[in-house]
Subunit: 379 residues, 2 copies
């Protein structure tokens, strides 16, 4: 087990009818910036519940955060924070809205001349941030209980991640009933996203961390067992609650304590979203099995352990095959073909970008641009 | 899954050589009360490491906290806090020292006329507490990452628990190497204590919380797999690290989120410690199998699930038997006989006390004084 430091101060308020709990956790002295996305919260009743819990607060609204939140849009929200002198951001939505809230919270307090530096430094330059809270409506990213965010820049087709202890939500309200009206595709994406988050912290090499392994396998088993019901029965409270809690636990940084991590799949996937506009989870489902086939030998011991404990199969190849089967069972493609994208072309685009940036990925830091191209060309 | 609120703000600093990290987390403005127990930290090198990390702080020491920390002793430490105007408590030791630190931290800021009210109210009256940190040397109680403490009153042979969000440690340093010199009996006790902490939050009835179940089973499996090596090889870093992290996860309140809890075994066990001076874990190992036999029917579904997933047996009776076998394999007795205590007499003493207090236990709140007596008489 590696040495580690773990702290996650976010208060989770979980269950039916809990949006009403949000208002009492938001300071009343200054206006609140209520941040949301394309307006689905106005159709599913969440907006009314949030407004009701903030009835004693001054509220400034900012809607229209994109699915892959744009730097350019966030800067407009920063202006609204400054002109309204908002003292708190309440993000109502999925990971995109939460990620945007984190960047806005940091940028509103950033002293430097160019907020892009926050992302270029991956959050290292963040010294403080406006406090923020969340009402989560889409389980997937774990953003409700971590200090991470991913922001895209339209002008340059870049997608960069930040991480900072200053942008953990003070609280996050998780009411599984808010997910009942989600489109099937978003639920599918969320299950795959959570599943791959676990894998990035688990599928490396044995590191004498048996409890962390079992926690990771617990989330994988739970998503595997409950994923189909979660998709098939939108109003199944227990399935949705289990999905929601699993997605939070997948990336609240607990299971990654003391173990090596990979994150290649995410880094490659971000480029595919930037170039082709694929959903984040769609990119993960393409890349993960390809990465594993390429890294079958260095990852063999963990692939076998995973196969045995989660799917009751004994070989690494079977573990990979069962994972692809699982994604397919959720209606999630695992090949470029489904999107009419030429694998060789995608491989070349990502190779070029990674070569420019001198990107090297993987838990052994040995997956360079050529290896990435080889992984993608085979999908 | 039940609604829940979860927040655990304690920063965990885990690994080799991490005691040196403590000092930079302790405010330097006011003196620090360094709290410890019977002096084992002076024999195993921990005291020197703690003093070194506090070399730029003014330090006031208070040693001699008992294994079952006494209210009377804690009050003396409160006086030291007040006369020294200490602004922080650093507890170096096991759960006893940490528990004492929590009570002292609350009592130092308590406005009422009688600090016993803190315990009589089980912590409800706590409005604030002195900040505290910990250097943990004995994995067992989880006190390093929760807001719970148990304090005994010598004069009345009472043992009462408090719980408050105000007494979570700000940070806890967990260096597995500090456990290398622990007496075998304390390690045995710690493994059983952690195991039973999980059971109090798990062995109830199915509550549609599959991820919580699997997390609990993960800790049980890990303790079962690694317990024997942990005991047999004191300098096995990975075993001790796994034991230490398992004990923290067993009672940092995470696995209890959204599920019914029992805690009968602890409540009954506390009385046995109060009457007979048995170690806390010794009482748990006597009570748990007896409670399960008495509650075999209401707990049947979970006993079977536990048996299948942790021990690969199919019946509730086999699950109970395997648990007793596991305790015995650690050298832990599960009957009063080992301590020359008459079961009927113990049963009668606890029955009388619970009847006086109108105590009713269990996840269904249906285990009254007569049921407790029946459980104990059969041990």
């Amino acid at each position: 087990m590696q040495n580690f430091v773990f702290r996650n101060p976010t208060e989770i308020v979980f269950g039916r009818g809990t949006i009403a709990e949000a208002g009492k956790r938001v300071p009343a002295q200054a206006p609140v910036l209520l941040l949301y996305g394309g307006g689905s919260i106005k159709r599913n009743g969440v907006y009314e519940q949030v407004k009701a819990t903030l009835k004693n607060h001054r509220v400034v609204e900012f809607g229209g955060i994109e699915v892959n939140p744009l730097y350019e849009t966030c800067l407009k929200a920063v202006d609204v924070v400054k002109t309204s002198q908002a003292g708190f951001i309440l993000a109502a939505g999925g990971g995109s809205v939460l990620d945007a809230a984190k960047f806005i919270a940091a940028a509103a307090r950033f002293a430097g001349p160019d907020s892009w530096e926050i992302l270029r430094s991956h959050g290292v330059v963040i010294q403080s941030a406006l406090p923020l809270g969340a009402v989560l409506t889409l389980p997937a990213t774990g953003s409700e209980s971590n200090g991470n965010a991913v922001i895209s820049r339209e002008a340059t087709r870049e997608k960069l991640a930040l991480s900072s202890k200053h942008v953990f939500p003070v609280f996050s309200v998780l009411d599984p009933e808010t997910t009942f009206s989600l489109p099937r595709k978003q639920v599918r994406n969320g299950i795959v996203d959570a599943f791959v988050h676990v894998m990035e912290q688990y599928m490396t090499y044995p590191a004498a961390a048996p409890l962390q392994d079992r926690f990771a396998e617990s989330i994988l088993q739970t998503l595997a067992e409950w994923g189909p019901t979660t998709l098939a029965e939108p109003n199944h409270y227990e399935a949705r609650a289990t999905f929601m809690w699993s997605a939070t636990m997948a990336l609240n940084t607990l299971i990654g304590c003391g173990v090596p991590q990979d994150w290649s799949t995410h880094m490659i996937g971000h480029e595919l979203t930037a170039f082709y506009g694929l959903d984040h989870a769609e990119t993960l489902a393409i890349v993960l099995p390809g990465l594993w086939k390429h890294q079958r030998e260095p990852k063999k011991a963990k692939l076998e352990q995973y196969g045995q404990r989660v799917w009751n199969v004994s070989t690494a190849d079977d573990a990979i095959a069962r994972t692809e089967d699982f994604f397919h069972s959720l209606g999630m493609p695992t090949r470029f073909e489904a999107y009419h994208i030429n694998p060789a072309e995608a491989a070349e685009k990502v190779r070029t970008r990674f070569a420019e940036r001198k990107t090297v990925l993987g838990e052994h830091r040995d997956i360079g641009p050529d290896a990435v191209a080889s992984i993608l060309a085979a999908r």
